[in-house]
Symmetry: C2
Subunit: 116 residues, 2 copies
């Protein structure tokens, strides 16, 4: 089952959800950082700097710096890969999980108030 959405509905949904996010004020976030966060919490582990960089099509330093920021906010954590110590595994945190969950709730809630 594919979800049918008209452009106007889609944009309003995005707008409303982003507005909720801004109000949450945990929102010094960049679009890139948000993208990294969602990738880590929605896609299957393990996540490495290189892997995420490829997915977003940005350079590795961009990811490193974003992880610094997200780490400061305790939304993700870093751990060396014991198997290959060159790798850094990006891990989820309780705070990050709650944050992403809240984002999902916002969007679900906003979707219900969309005009037909």
């Amino acid at each position: 089952m594919s979800l049918h959405l008209r452009p106007g509905q889609a944009l309003k949904l995005w707008h409303d959800s982003v507005l909720d996010l801004v109000h949450l004020d945990e929102s010094g976030l960049t679009v890139r950082q948000l993208s990294i966060l969602l990738t880590v919490y929605l896609e299957l582990p393990p996540h490495t700097v290189r892997g995420v960089a490829q997915k977003l099509k940005v350079t590795k330093p961009v990811i490193t710096r974003a992880l610094d920021s997200l780490g400061r906010l305790e939304l993700v954590a870093r751990r060396r890969d014991p198997a290959d110590k060159r790798n850094v595994l990006i891990q989820r945190t309780v705070k990050g999980a709650l944050f992403v969950e809240k984002l999902g709730d916002f969007m679900v809630s906003r979707a219900q108030t969309l005009p037909s």
Copy 2:
């Protein structure tokens, strides 16, 4: 008709769309700037600095600076309100309209590929 969406679906939809936006690389954008952009293009004019600031619950300088950036990108334009010259009216541009339209298309397209 309200749109039914499960949290998992909603988050994946957000993730996929944001990823498209990042790839678009017009993506030095802040979440706040994106929020302003969508507000200007989805809500009924006129839009003033003060009005948008209230809606996002941020201070006016934040809006002024965001408009500087968005203006540099030609995604919005500014015009003095002839009726009350203290006001600045935030106006849409061709480039901005195309950009927002693309965002909507991304999201619609992504919605169709969501798992049930």
